[in-house]
Amino acid sequence: MLSLTINFPTLGVWITGLTETVPHPLDGHVAGIRTRSEVAFRAVYDATADDLISFAFGMLGDRKTAEDVVQQTFVELVKGAHKIKGDGRSLRAWLFKSVRFGCLDEYRRRSRRPEIPHEAIPDLPVDSDPLFDHLDPSLEAALNSLNKRHRTVVLLRHVVGMSADEVATVIGSTRRATYAVIKRAEARLRDLLDEYRDAES
């Protein structure tokens, strides 16, 4: 159905029209979030944290920072809870937007920080699996070669599993423009992944 949405925009619009009337799992918690009920916050966290952390992890390539960004997003949600409008879909989009901005802030922080050469980092005792905490180097290199917009849409689309319409809401763009961006981002990522895999082999 998702590929239909992309391949046949007209049919996609029709399908989207149908899906929008379907209740969203977060619908029942929006009122609780607005009134800052802890139960609602816990429920929304449990329903979205995996997706949000995966998205942030893909954006930053570092699990620890990704977790911090997600934590900050929920703290921000507490502060701005009274401003949350709409249904569960809007709430989910708000959370992803917030994580996206958190990641962009992190990029800015990184660009200000001086680059530390790998040789200078001492071998610290590892308390968790480094492969689990960091991305595969070739994948990270491919993702780093994408521009931020392409990286965002690819991750939202193929890691979180969002529809193109949901992606459009998160990146604040029109549906038509988002279709085009997703297409270009997918093609670019495919090329980059093939390139890095070939280089590795």
């Binding site: 800052r36 995966s54 703290v75 994948l139 690819v154 599993g161």
Partner: protein
């Protein structure tokens, strides 16, 4: 997840228990801080609003008060602020208060007491204010004299006896004496006593 990019599968991670707990504690803390913060802020805001409204209203209400009024202490408390804009204001206000007290027929003692306060505030170069104080004192004396005269005339022989004097009459007039002799025989003492009574009555009424 899309089968078009199997490489992206490794990005898909789940939140472990420790992280979940840490995040939920952060949320609870933020919720509690928010609750307390907004309550505290609300109280401070409400208090500030009440004060901001109350102070000018009270100050305005106290502006035309005289000694003995409920809000007079507020007028005196606000005086340093008024003095900043007009250094003569306190003296002028004291003199005006004396005049108002006189107009309101306040007890003589209250006026005289306030005249002393006003005299302390009025400096030598404020002759206009001194004149106004003198005029009030003059008017006060005139009023006293007028009252005295009124009481005397009320006790004159041939005049109809005022109602309030009836209480005095039985004391001074023995029962066995004839009614015709009453005015001439009692005049000297009765006048004095009547005056005193009237003045005391005035004080009670004004107080």
């Amino acid at each position: 997840m899309s089968n078009r990019f199997p490489e992206l599968e490794q990005i898909r991670i789940t939140v472990d228990e420790t992280t979940r707990d840490k995040h939920l504690v952060a949320v609870s803390t933020a919720l509690r801080a928010r609750e307390h913060g907004s309550r505290g802020r609300g109280r401070v805001l409400a208090l500030a609003l009440v004060l901001a409204l109350l102070v000018p209203v009270m100050a305005l209400a106290a502006e035309n008060t005289v000694p003995g009024d409920l809000l007079y202490p507020i007028k005196r408390a606000m005086e340093p602020i008024v003095q900043v804009f007009d250094s003569d204001a306190p003296a002028q206000r004291r003199v005006r208060e004396i005049e108002v007290l006189f107009e309101r027929d306040a007890p003589d003692e209250a006026i005289v007491q306030h005249v002393d306060v006003a005299r302390d505030m009025v400096t030598d170069d404020q002759s206009a204010l001194s004149d106004r104080i003198d005029r009030v004192i003059h008017d006060l004396e005139m009023r006293r004299a007028h009252r005295l005269a009124a009481n005397r005339s009320s006790d004159n022989p041939g005049d109809k006896k005022p109602v309030q004097d009836q209480s005095v009459v039985p004391v001074d007039v023995p029962d066995e004496e004839g009614e015709d002799d009453l005015p001439s025989s009692t005049t000297p003492t009765t006048v004095e006593e009547t005056n005193d009574t009237t003045r005391r009555d005035d004080r009670v009424r004004d107080g």
